[in-house]
């Protein structure tokens, strides 16, 4: 079946602009995660959605970052007033979200460049 898809694959934006990154998880996966991969910080957790529960936002680096998940499926990560330090690859992952089914499957990522 189809894996996790993300769009766009690349995004170049000017400092101060807002950007939206999209993630389409594997069908039937109730858990969805956003991670960021950058040269300086490696792979780091940003936010986690599980079913209809309130999201775990503990990894968001600032209040310029937000995310939503509509209908328990597609998720959008929004970065407002982008800064150069936001340049990174943003990765989305999904999993079944069931006890004993911990495997997270990653999408190809969105490479964000802030100029």
């Amino acid at each position: 079946g189809a894996g996790v898809s993300q769009s766009p694959s690349n995004k170049v934006t000017e400092k101060g602009k807002d950007v939206e990154l999209r993630c389409d998880p594997i069908s039937g996966h109730t858990a969805l995660y956003w991670y960021r991969q950058s040269l300086g910080q490696g792979l780091e957790f940003l936010i986690y959605f599980q079913g209809n529960s309130a999201p775990d936002k503990s990894g968001l680096p600032s209040d310029r970052f937000s995310a939503e998940r509509t209908g328990g499926s597609v998720s959008t990560l929004t970065i407002q007033r982008t800064q150069q330090e936001d340049s990174a690859v943003y990765l989305c992952a999904s999993s079944l979200g069931l006890s004993g089914a911990y495997e997270q499957y990653f999408g190809p990522g969105t490479r964000l460049t802030v100029t």
């Binding site: 858990a31 792979l43 780091e44 599980q50 775990d56 495997e103 997270q104």
Partner: protein, 113 residues
Amino acid sequence: QQQVKQSPQSLIVQKGGISIINCAYENTAFDYFPWYQQFPGKGPALLIAIRPDVSEKKEGRFTISFNKSAKQFSLHIMDSQPGDSATYFCAASIESYGNKLVFGAGTILRVKS
């Protein structure tokens, strides 16, 4: 605070040799330990994972060894092939905290043919 320490940073192995990557963790609450493989321009792909009630898990040429008392786990790639050249990440998570993965810094593996 770096919760998962990975070594070495890079590794060169001859074709047919054994590649060994090590990770150490600090938080004893971690209860899930996956390894991911990442090729340039791609997202990480799950290779193999282990839980702390098992000391070793093998899948094909890939083996995880887990030492709970030492808080260490390692990935062994047997009969390494040029196609295994990639970046490898260890990770750890806590199921009851949503399985948010904490990653090691990564190891760049190059297998020479």
